[in-house]
Amino acid sequence: MTTPPSAPLTAPPPAPRPAGQPSRLQAVVAGALALVVLVVGVLVRPRTPTPDPRTTGDPALAAALREAVAGTPAHRLAVAHVEAGTATFAGLGADESTVFEIGSVSKGLTGLLLADAVERGEVALEDPLGAHLPLDGAPAADVRLGSLATHASGLPRMPGGLAMAARSIWSGVSGANPYGGYGVDALVAAARDARVGDPGPEYSNLGAALAGQALAAAAGTAWPDLLRARLTGPLGMDATTAPTRTPADDPLLAGTDASGRSHAPWVMDGFAPAGGVRSTTGDLALLVQALLDGTAPGTDALEPRADLDEDRIGHFWVTSTTSDGRTVTWHNGRTGGFAAWVGLDREAGRGVVVLSDVSASVDEVGLRLLEEGPTW
């Protein structure tokens, strides 16, 4: 006779865990860390800026601005519409006194200073660059002032060399100012080393900066002072500056790129004539009005003088024909954290300024507001 096995008094030892299978503690730790990664990833995700919900100025123009900017990375914007001697302002989170970087619209101001200097007899468009800057017989010394203003000098877009390349890369990675500490002497030294290629159209920040510094040298002053004395001062553009160092109590907005990442202000020295100006729609409306009236110093800079791809170009000011056959004279600008557009329909006697604190083109916004009549 057999007896059934008695029931065990204790539970059997657990089976050994198969190799590679995590313990409960491991699973908890892994899950917790993965959760932390996911939460941090959501918190720091890139965010394309959206227009500020606050509205300033003329309600109809503000509504037109909000509609025009839909789909464009943008946050705070200010706009001015100038027509028949009247400036109308509006903004989204900004107004006509808000200070923005205007980037390469600065080239347009340099173009006005060039035309003004020619009218004064201080320089000639055929002057070689070496007549005004110490280029020591380098190839860039033979470049003509006028060709700099039409991007036909053969100079490259930017100075070559490892230092400038490193600045650009560092700026891209860190959001730093790629032009910080790049003075007039460094600019002239870069020009001495610059290759001068075919004089076909090639957009050149280097050329624009050299043109402005040549004008300053011819006038015996610094470029920001020249700008103040001959253009912004006479027009009453008191909020327009070209600081060579970040000012104390800086009034500038904190600009971002189109992914919402903050970028340091682009304070420039040597390159200021190419992109170092800050302004407001209030000030630029004064400029636009004076350009439409023909009373701005150097208004002749707007007149087209050469081809620039499919467009024409004066002293840095580009003239384009729109799809509906109208002629628009304009310049745009971008920095690490800002975008700008200034355009004029001279036949219609109308002009528009758009300033944004996001580095994403506002050209289409400006063109749209310029095309629309004051019945927004």
Partner: protein, 118 residues
């Protein structure tokens, strides 16, 4: 510009995916990290790649899902790292000095990259 935006996100995505695959597959398979130092530097490099992608990519030009794919891959890699941790020595006993130096260097580089891109 759009091609550049895709490149600056897809290259890190592929690199992080490769790392996540290495850490998540079975520890019995040949290859993969040989010590815990390699696990730590793998996480650090993946995080640095994501930080670089965040800084350099024009995110308005690519779908948001690519960002979340990057983050999900890092999370998967972290899970694989924890899973492999108990079975590995702290430093490869064959060359502990070199491994220690590599660990410190790679962690420092990754920390600097993350700091400047934030």
């Amino acid at each position: 510009m759009v091609i550049l935006a895709w490149t600056t996100v897809l290259v890190p995505l592929l690199l992080v995916a490769s790392w996540a695959w290495q850490t998540c597959r079975s520890p019995e398979r040949p290859g993969g990290p040989g010590d815990r130092a390699a696990l730590v530097t793998g996480v650090a490099e993946a995080v640095a790649l994501v930080a670089l992608a965040r800084a350099l990519t024009r995110w308005e030009a690519v779908p948001d899902v690519l960002w979340f794919a990057l983050v999900a891959l890092v999370a998967a890699g972290v899970v694989g790292t924890v899973r492999r941790w108990p079975g590995l020595p702290g430093l490869d006993p064959a060359r502990p000095g070199r491994r220690r130096a590599a660990l410190v260097t790679e962690l420092a580089v990754a920390a600097v990259l993350v700091a400047v891109t934030l």
